[in-house]
């Protein structure tokens, strides 16, 4: 499944890097602690968070994540979106909670067995 399918299924708003929506998603990870995402998320994962700081783009780029879903109506700052466009990291916004987004991703068959075993 790629990001575009997820955007369609969850009715996400594409805020940055629209040209990268064909990226295949390998799994999912949800956390607001960036250090944990850096250490635990896997390449190609979609990351679900309510953080919107430019550091989010740095972590996503470092780990080679497929994209970031920002939850609960969090609006990423202009600086964050600008960097996301430069780095090619899709930022996808929703009003849903992180919990609900993770549940819906699982329904779509996106798990994180690589991490939880």
């Amino acid at each position: 499944m790629n990001l575009r399918d997820i955007v369609d299924q969850l009715a996400l708003e594409v805020c940055a890097a629209e040209e990268k929506l064909d990226t295949e998603v390998t799994g999912g990870y949800a956390s607001d602690l960036l250090s944990y995402v850096m250490a635990r998320a896997k390449e190609g994962n979609v990351w679900v968070t309510m953080q919107s700081h430019v550091n989010v783009v740095a972590v996503a780029s470092l780990v080679n994540l497929a994209g970031v879903i920002t939850t609960e109506g969090t609006k990423a700052e202009p600086a964050t979106l600008e960097k996301a466009n430069q780095e090619g990291i899709p930022i996808l916004a929703t009003k849903l909670t992180t919990y609900t987004v993770a549940g819906k991703l699982y329904e779509l068959g996106i798990g994180n067995e690589d991490i939880d075993g």
């Binding site: 602690l33 960036l34 250090s35 944990y36 430019v54 972590v59 470092l62």
Partner: protein, 182 residues
């Protein structure tokens, strides 16, 4: 990060990488003013204004292996999330001062965490001297590795017996502050 001590260790390692031979670490917890202030002062190589302006930018790093450095940006974001700030001043050839301020009672403030392990890891990690002061309101715990090393003479701090003594010395010192340090 889950603990402020991890940010502190990261910043101390920056000082070491800057070639510092002496680092001053002060943790001041003022529960009346509701402030937790972490100050790190080193005598390392320092930074010019151009570099200084970029250290809080996650897409800047002194490393050549990758183009992203998140140590300082994460420390800064943690402080700002807790009604605080992170300030760095530096003079090339003289050294660098980093100060992170947090609202002590802020719900999102991470606990200070394992200071004993953090201090021990830094002290045993190399030749850089450390002056440490942890204050909680009126109470203080302080030590200087230069003084400890002078007393040890030829015995290296990494000697198992010294290491164990250091661990309990720091743990006991920190414990005297705990009842107020939440």
């Amino acid at each position: 990060m889950r603990e402020l001590s991890l940010h502190i260790l990261d910043a101390l390692e920056n000082s070491r990488e800057a070639g510092a031979t002496h680092v001053e670490l002060t943790i001041a917890e003022d529960l009346v003013a509701d402030r937790l202030t972490i100050t790190i002062r080193d005598n390392g190589c320092g930074m010019n204004e151009e570099t200084l302006a970029r250290v809080t930018d996650p897409f800047y790093t002194s490393r050549k292996t990758r183009h992203i450095g998140l140590g300082i940006p994460l420390f800064q974001a943690a402080a700002e999330r807790c009604n605080g700030e992170l300030v760095i001043t530096s003079q090339p050839g003289k050294g660098t001062m980093l100060r992170a301020v947090f609202q002590h009672s802020h719900l999102d403030r991470a606990p200070l965490g394992d200071m004993t392990g953090t201090l021990l890891s830094f002290v045993l990690g190399g030749v850089c001297d450390l002056s440490y002061l942890h204050r909680v309101n009126e109470r203080e715990f302080a030590f200087s590795t230069a003084e400890i090393k002078a007393e040890l003479g030829d015995v290296p701090p990494s000697h198992p017996a010294v290491r164990e003594w250091l661990r309990s010395f720091i743990a006991e010192g920190e414990a005297t502050l705990i009842p107020l340090s939440v």
